[in-house]
């Protein structure tokens, strides 16, 4: 897939079909990749595809001016469709280089299983349904389900549905929904007071770095509500009350547009389980409105489209 990607990217730039290519390149740390945004066809040899391409690159689409050729995994392509639904992009201005994705490896899960940090590992490779970790010369293997990101475990559409070029063979869906929703189910079983305590503790670690908001492709507001001072919706102080309100409001703002890519949770430097909120929001939206974000680029955006026949029974 990598070679095909490099060739496609180079051709797109050479033929002037796109102004920029957005993909992944080898990162500066072990087992890490970094986004590569370039208009230079000579850079196309730096593009990579491997089990560590975690980022959702569609977050850059709302800031790059011009036509973009973008590398998109299954989840990423849903974000792109969601952006098209929101009228932030036109389909013609994006060339989607689809990557059928068998799941991305979560390094923190590997670290926990092996008991060593990522820079102390020699190698991590995927071999079918196993992941082989080499530490100090010795190999250990783990079932793949133990090291993939939570949202990859329940991924329904790992092969992009919307694409211009599909860089590899379609990948079957991993339908282990249970593992993906494990944390949420656990929370639902808790009595209210315990759940409140849980979130209060989690959000007391929040430092309001806004990484969750900035990695999110759905958060493209020029001026976020936290940056408003008239009126001041919430104070910028990183206290658990404000932090919790920030995240709850953010979730409501992205409802119907969040595609459960899991980037918010991955980006959080203090390990707040944000996906427990966003995934639950995603499921709620599906339950209430029969709408899954990012599936149909011609559909109207859920929260901003109004039909006269809509339900009004909740209005008292």
């Amino acid at each position: 897939m990598e070679e095909r990607l490099r060739h496609e990217a180079k051709t797109l730039l050479e033929q002037g079909k796109v102004d920029y290519i957005v993909g992944f390149e080898q990162g500066s740390l072990k087992f890490t990749t970094a986004p590569l945004i370039t208009n230079d066809k000579g850079d196309s040899d730096r593009l990579v595809i491997n089990p560590f391409i975690a980022n959702n690159l569609s977050v850059y689409l709302t800031e790059i001016e011009g036509r973009v050729g973008i590398v998109a995994k299954g989840c990423d392509s849903h974000s792109i469709v969601s952006l098209i639904q929101d009228n932030k992009l036109t389909r013609e201005n994006v060339v989607i280089l689809g990557v059928p994705c068998p799941g991305i490896i979560d390094l923190s899960k590997v670290e926990k299983l092996v008991g060593k940090d990522r820079d102390e590992l020699d190698d991590i490779t995927r071999e079918g349904s196993q992941v082989v970790v080499t530490v100090e010369g010795k190999k250990k293997d783990f079932p793949i389900a133990e090291v993939l990101f939570d949202n990859c475990l329940g991924c329904e559409l790992p092969t992009p549905q919307e694409y211009d070029v599909l860089l590899g063979e379609p990948v079957p869906a991993a339908v282990d929904e249970t593992a993906s929703k494990a944390k949420i189910e656990e929370l639902k079983k808790m009595p209210h007071e315990q759940r409140w305590d849980f979130w209060r503790e989690e959000f007391s670690r929040c430092i309001r770095c806004y990484a969750c908001r900035n990695v999110c492709p759905a958060c493209f507001c020029q001026r976020c509500f936290v940056e408003e001072s008239e009126p001041q919706w919430i104070l910028p102080a990183p206290r658990w009350q404000e932090n919790l309100m920030f995240q709850v409001i953010r979730n409501i703002h992205v409802a119907g547009r969040c595609t459960d890519c899991g980037e918010c949770e991955r980006a959080c430097p203090v390990n707040i389980p944000l996906r427990s909120m966003t995934k639950e929001m995603y499921n709620l939206v599906d339950e209430l409105f029969n709408f899954k974000s990012g599936m149909d680029k011609d559909a109207a955006p859920l929260m901003t489209a109004y039909e006269c026949e809509e339900a009004e029974d909740f209005i008292r």
Binding site: G27, S28, L29, K30, T32, T33, A34, P35, L36, I37, T38, N55, V59, Y60, E63, D117, D119, E120, E201, E202, R205, I207, R208, C209, Y210, A211, R213, N214, V215, R223, E227, L235, P236, A237, P238, R239, E263, R266, A267, P269, V270, N271, I272
Partner: protein, 342 residues
């Protein structure tokens, strides 16, 4: 070197308990899986087996993420202003790494310069630093390129080095001497102990693989200031969050806000970041609206402007910015690939 001591690792718990009588003791702790300096619970010493650095740096104790500056209330005669009750208790930070300690020394320069910042300085003057040298640097560490090292002891009061079953203790300052002279479980160190400690430090030094050529960077920095192409390319993947600046031990930018609840309230300060677009926003314009200007500002503030004012690079090579960045933006890459001077 009669000042050098050692202590068996088994006795650290007792030592900390002894110190706890006089000091509020902070140790590296894990909260929700995130390592930071927190009040010692009085029992758990497992942090001794954990040889790496915290996610949130020790600066959070001196410059907390949110801090009350004063309270105010409207009485019949007008406004009354009240300073918060200060915790007079002395503090002791155990397990601070050389990079974070050096960063504190650097922050001191800003908070002492011209006007003294009472909140930061009162905490700083009240705190003793007991450092523990690194034995296993991350691949993101680059302290050795910035005048520090995994075993650098200049900025702490006591420096402990792991020499097997024991910690070798260097007495660095008078505060440290006071601390250790009456401490229980502490013996005099031998020359073999000293040699072992030196060896440990050297091994750790050689493990630091990430390098910066600061001399070459110094020459290439100012000529590259106006190079918009370079900075646009370098800044392209940054997402303008605050992770690098908040977790950086030398970053100190803050904003001041008020909170009002029913006629009384507080003025507080909280962490702010030059990476945020609204950081320099004025009513009519924003000089750093474009992302590349903000990324450039962060690099230059640390490697050019701070040295111009205080003769020291405002970076200690702790590598947190590289490790925690969601898009792997790497300051060493950005600096090392500065265009060569024409």
């Amino acid at each position: 070197m009669a000042d050098n001591r050692k202590i068996n690792k088994k006795d650290i718990g007792k030592l900390l308990s002894e110190w706890s009588k006089e000091y509020a003791v902070f140790v590296p702790s894990r909260e929700g899986g995130v390592a930071k300096m927190a009040k010692w619970d009085g029992a758990d010493t497992s942090f001794m087996n954990w040889y790496r650095n915290t996610v949130v740096p020790a600066k959070s104790i001196f410059l907390p993420p949110v801090e009350e500056m004063f309270g105010f209330q409207k009485g019949k005669e007008g406004y009354n202003i009240e300073l918060p009750q200060s915790d007079e208790r002395k503090q002791l930070i155990f397990g601070i790494r050389p990079c974070d300690a050096k960063a504190l020394a650097m922050l001191d320069m800003t908070f002492k310069d011209s006007y003294q910042d009472p909140y930061y300085l009162s905490k700083r003057n009240n705190t003793v630093l007991v450092g523990v040298s690194c034995t296993n640097p991350y691949d993101s560490c680059f302290c050795t390129s910035l005048g520090s090292s995994p075993g650098e002891s200049t900025d702490v009061d006591l420096m402990l080095t792991d020499i097997g079953d024991e910690f070798f203790i260097e007495v660095v300052s008078d505060k440290g001497k006071e601390l250790i002279t009456t401490a229980g479980g502490v013996e005099e160190a031998t020359e073999t102990d000293e040699a072992k400690a030196k060896q440990v430090k050297e091994t750790a030094y050689n493990k630091v693989t990430r390098k910066l050529d600061t001399e070459s960077i110094k020459e290439r920095l100012m000529p590259a200031f106006e190079n918009q192409d370079y900075w646009e390319k370098t800044a392209a993947k940054c997402i303008s969050c605050g992770i690098c600046t908040f977790l950086c031990p030398t970053c100190y930018c803050f904003e001041i806000n008020d909170e009002l609840v029913k006629g009384e309230g507080v003025r507080f300060r909280n962490w702010d970041s030059c990476a945020f677009p609204v950081y320099t926003k004025m009513p009519m314009e924003n000089p750093r609206l474009e992302k590349w200007r903000r990324v450039r500002q962060k690099v230059y503030h640390k490697y050019q402007f701070y040295p111009m004012n205080f003769s020291v690079i405002a970076c200690t090579g702790c590598g947190r910015c590289i490790r925690q960045c969601p898009v792997n933006w790497d300051i060493t890459q950005a600096l090392n690939s500065l265009p060569a001077r024409l």
